[in-house]
Amino acid sequence: MSGAARVWRQNRAGLLFVSPWLVGFLLLQVWPFLGSAWLSLTSYDLVSPPRYVGMENYRTLVADDPAFWKSLGVTLRYALVSVPLSVVAGVALALLLNVEIRGQAIFRTLFYLPSVLPQVATAVLFTWLLNPELGLVNGVLHLVGVQGPAWLQDARWAPWTLVFLSVWSVGGGMVIYLAGLKDVPAYLYEAALLDGASAWQRLRAVTLPMLTPVIFYNVVMGVIASFQTFTEAYVMTKGGPEGSTTFYALYLFRRAWDNLDMGYACAMAWVLFLVIAAVTLALFRGQKRWVNYDR
């Protein structure tokens, strides 16, 4: 019996069990993935057959499209601020909710709740909450004598408002941090206590280092998600004011569906893929310096 036949015989039951997923993966992910690579080299309007244009889409993107660079800048700025902020907020919340207190389960549920709400519903809700004249947020600020900003109407504020909103759904990350905290061996705390470590020292020397694999995971996922930010900007600001929230994914969507520039949009999608891959690779390279896998 040849090697391949033996491997097949040994694994066929497993392969047959996973075959529905494999077929779906090949047809719905690998095929479109390769298809988009081809389309990125064409001029394609969805109706006429794609026409090969070589690297023209990529050349235009890099050399001739200021909106591309602007949207990339908006997205990078968002990622740079929202990801660390979400990590800090998530870890802080997890630490607080890890404390054994009465009603702990209720607090955990409450903080997790926003992350299971539909994004569009949340975005519409916040559009009204943040209305500069009628919104609850500025209403409360007004009570304490502060004139709240035009959160979503002012180009200086709108990007940061969306960053703030990203923290609203930090519950998903928080649950993972909580699971990570439960995984920290108790003997490490006991040893630290015996050594006379204060609460702050235990946090710095035990909790955080032991949590770094989970933090790393959330950073990677957060970076990928933030590069794909779309819904909030599409629903709340339509990319405005003055393009200040035109994220990369939103610009790509407009190129594809408003301008029927599918080839160009595919090229944009590939550039985004490469950027995300490069950043993720850099994160993986850098993790050796700060992620602790010792147990």
Binding site: S43, D45, L46, V47, S48, R51, V53, E56, N57, T60, D64, D65, N131, P132, E133, L134, Q147, A150, L152, Q153, D154, A155, G240, P241, E242, G243, R254, W257, D258, N259, L260, D261, G263, Y264
Partner: protein, 440 residues
Amino acid sequence: MTAKTVLGALVTVAVIAVLAPPAPSVQRFPKRERVVFWHMWGNEYQPVVETIARRFNASQTRYEVVPLYVPADGAMTKFLLSASGGKAPDLVSQWNPVLGTWSDRGLVLPLDTVMTPAEAARYRREAYPIMKDHATYRGRLMAMIAGVDVTAVYYRLDQLKEVGVDADHLPKTMEELMALARRLDRRDASGRLRRVGFLPSSWKALAPTFGGDFGTSERTTFDTPANRRAAEFVVANQRRLGFENVSRFMASQAADTGMTIPLIAGNLSIMLDGQWRVKQADDVAPNLPYAVAPVPPPAGGRANASMTDPNYLMIPRASSCPQGAWAFMKFWIGMDDAEAGGRNTSDMGWLPYCDRVARSKAYQAYLRRYPRYRTFVDLVSSPNLQKFPVTALQSFVTTEIGKAEESTGRGTLAPVAALQGLDRTLADETARQRRLGNVR
């Protein structure tokens, strides 16, 4: 099979039955040729569209129009996907500026392929010029215009009375209008705008009144002296009120239906608005004291001028029943039956496509019921109505204009710089699309 399995299957079926979406519109006359019509008119307009379809179905025995409401947000995407898949509806409506793009991409059928020569000649002879303009792309009729949106000025008479002005003494010039508007502004103790006399935000909409235009389909131009005057007028008013104040005030005027329409709510004493507002306002607030008049021109401007926007009816190239779609389009606008057209058009609160329909009994009854609407009927035949040039880059241009108006409205870009910037952006995009072979 165990009882558990049977129970599980039954529960699954029950869950699917409960969660399954309702069936789409059902064909009532299975023997007729089906005409699937995707339209974007929801809320109060959806039942009106369905009634028009029912009337059409009752008027003949060959076709059956099956209307399907497709929410505006996803309508373009849905149509494009259906067209690329080769299974498009038979008729679509659109109010987004898509005629150029869709025509250039071969997505819609030129109407001369379904019209008889006599029909084409009659349409060209009797349709108002602005209707023909909107329906035509590169010399060919590509759409019928179910309704064209024309802008006029709405005045809240009770607020005008506060400053001693009545309906018989409405402003005759833009300068008079602005002088009146300034007296109508109201602020609260902290200086925030509570009511604004007049607050146009789009200089594109006002350009025709200032004598401006945006060129032709062959060459779109933004930076002209008249367009500059329009932009500077709009921005000067925003500057006077304070850019940030205006931005905040506008954000609080988000609602566009019911009692919260700024005209009814009383937040704007004088406002630019379209013809549909008359029926809406009269139905929602029958005792509202208001008047409607054409936009008064500034010195050197044009009277009875307005930028106009169309509501297209188009036959997709992949339509499986183009003749049925054409029959319904004719019925809608009243080409063969002016009374039917008058009833359909007035039920939608829209303008007729020609004088013959305007004179129909149904339409005249509508004008008697909504007398203020007559201003728009008078305007629709004005030679000073304009359409924005239809090009293959229409969607792109519309987005860019929106961004430029936003920037000037916030004071971050001077009007002249905005207009020049638009010319540059359009030239760059055109060059790029030419390089890709996408535009002629």
